[in-house]
């Protein structure tokens, strides 16, 4: 029986604004199925985004949703999580939002290991604003602001997350929704900062300028660049050149989580304060 997404969506807000064939649809649906599998209640979930095509996703989800300013989803999400650490906080944003203007918040969320799940729809471009290159646009690719080809090297988002201290890092791609759903589900269930990079297609802005204007063609191109982790583990550097490894890339369940540490600190500070005061504190 086909999965029914409608209970999780604000159906009255459809039709959505994304281009036909956009990879965001696959990412959002994978997220919904993952939430459903976990049996979470909509009232217990906050979905926070920044600015861009991907960041429009929360508006269509029937949960506690917040659409913030460019790159700042994590700041707001941190606030929500600190006030209600018992609730589920999800950040969904694009590559430009998360690692260009949002890069600083991103690395510190990784470092702090705050229990938020961060889904990055990486389509290697600033889609909504007309196809400007982002920190993940491949070197040499054409973009609205790179008419002679992008002269900059690009980030490996998963490496960036791992280097900064995230304790669950995974990469999937929109050509495999089943795998993406599992990676997102594991990230949601992980107690710590979880980053799921979803390699995605913006055929309208990126594809069109790089001889891949058809969504299926672009998705195939993305898929062809990937190699599963089990296989990659047996390949050498030369064989891996130009490839992106997909699957669960890193997991550490033992690192202290930010809200837990804060709760401990508060207890310690309040106990010390009670001890040092002459009169009992309420």
């Amino acid at each position: 029986m086909a999965f029914d997404y409608t209970p999780y969506m604000r159906m009255s807000k459809l039709p959505h604004l994304w281009c036909p064939g956009c990879g965001i649809g696959i990412v959002v649906k994978s997220l919904i199925r993952a939430i459903d599998r976990l049996g979470w209640l909509k009232d217990d979930i906050a979905v926070v985004s920044g600015i861009g095509c991907t960041s429009r996703a929360p508006g269509y989800l029937d949960m506690n949703t917040l659409h913030t300013t460019h790159g700042r989803a994590i700041s707001f999400a941190t606030g929500i999580k600190l006030v209600r650490p018992d609730k589920h906080v999800i950040v969904i944003a694009g590559d430009g939002d998360m690692v260009a203007i949002g890069g600083n918040h991103f690395i510190h969320a990784c470092r702090r290991n705050i229990d938020i799940t961060c889904i990055i729809n990486n389509n290697n471009i600033y889609g909504m604003t007309g196809g400007q290159y982002s920190p993940t646009t491949p070197h040499g690719a054409k973009a609205a602001t790179a008419p002679w080809g992008n002269m900059e090297p690009s980030f490996d988002l998963a490496s960036l997350a791992m280097g900064a201290g995230a304790t669950y890092v995974a990469r999937g791609q929109v050509g495999n929704g089943v795998q993406l759903e599992r990676l997102i589900r594991d990230g949601l269930g992980h107690h710590g900062f979880a980053v799921i990079e979803a390699l995605s297609n913006c055929h309208t802005q990126f594809g069109r300028r790089n001889k891949l204007p058809d969504p299926m063609q672009l998705i195939q191109h993305i898929q062809d660049k990937t190699v599963p982790k089990s296989k990659a583990d047996k390949m050498d550097a030369a064989e891996l050149a130009g490839k992106l490894v997909v699957g669960e890339l890193y997991r550490d369940a033992d690192r202290p989580e930010f809200c837990d540490e804060y709760a401990k600190l508060r207890q310690r500070a309040q106990a010390a304060s009670r001890k040092s005061m002459a009169v009992p504190v309420a």
Binding site: R10, D44, G59, M63, N64, L66, H67, R84
Partner: protein
């Protein structure tokens, strides 16, 4: 909270200034209301910070506490107000069932929509984009225009509750000194000194600087001969005074930047100039 320093850009860290007054009002883009409070004493700072939260909860907008380095670094004795001495205002939450809730819908004659909290059954959308009453983005020109008008009206139609100030011998003042924050403390001393020398000086100290106390300045400007606006900037509050004061009155500024306070004798000089 803006603890003002001197100078634009990195300026003079750890030195006082009052040159963010206009930035507090217009620093962010778009048509927006602003509430900014400028306490001058630590006891007042304590209560005004509570009031800032109250106003923010009541009117659903950010409130700026605008002080300066002098107030930020000073030590002053005061009795901490007991909880019975002030009120706490918490935001109005919806009473309707979640299915009927529209996060930005106001009843006739009201301006501030009740605000639900997340995780309590009201699954609403909040966005920085212009939005309709359901919270969802819209580009409908009429909806956007009316919503922005409502947002400004939240403050403009509640000035009576928001505006606050202190007057010292202003009623019969011929020379009115207008000053805020730490500078106003020096202005207070200057006014007392001027009175001893036979000059009918008075002080008007805005505590709420935005919205600006238009009516009060306008009223006092009819009785006075001249206004001295003392501020640690090169002329910001003076623009507001010029805007609202009686057209025949003489208005001069006592302005100093460079990171040092304006001393009472400098203000007395200016009072003398226009007396």
């Amino acid at each position: 909270v803006d603890v003002q320093r001197s100078g634009p850009s990195t300026g003079l860290p750890t030195h006082p200034g009052q040159s963010d007054l206009m930035q507090a009002r217009w620093g962010t883009h778009g048509d927006h209301a602003t509430i900014a409070l400028a306490p001058a004493y630590l006891h007042e700072l304590y209560l005004e910070t509570i009031r800032a939260f109250n106003l923010s909860e009541k009117y659903r907008l950010p409130v700026i506490v605008l002080i300066d380095e002098i107030i930020g670094h000073m030590s002053e004795c005061f009795e901490v107000p007991r909880p019975e001495e002030y009120t706490i205002f918490d935001r109005v939450k919806p009473t309707c069932p979640p299915e009927e809730y529209s996060p930005y819908e106001v009843r006739d004659g009201e301006l501030v929509p009740p605000m639900a909290a997340y995780f309590e059954g009201y699954r609403f959308h909040a966005t920085g984009l212009n939005h309709d009453k359901t919270g969802f983005p819209t580009t409908h020109p009429v909806v956007c225009h009316q919503d922005e008008v409502r947002q400004l009206a939240k403050v403009s139609q509640n000035r009576g509750e928001i505006v606050s100030w202190e007057e010292v011998m202003a009623d019969d003042a011929e020379i009115l000194v207008v000053s805020f924050g730490s500078t106003a403390r020096g202005a207070h001393a200057a006014v007392l000194e001027a009175r001893k020398k036979g000059i009918r000086a008075g002080l008007f100290r805005p505590i709420t600087v935005w919205p600006f106390p238009d009516e009060e300045i306008r009223r006092l400007s009819h009785r006075a001969k001249a206004i001295v606006v003392a501020e640690m900037n090169l002329g910001q509050m003076i623009c507001e005074v010029e805007r609202v004061a009686h057209s025949d009155i003489r208005i001069v500024g006592c302005q100093k930047v460079g990171g040092v306070p304006i001393e009472p004798h400098e203000i007395i000089e200016k009072i003398r100039e226009v007396a």
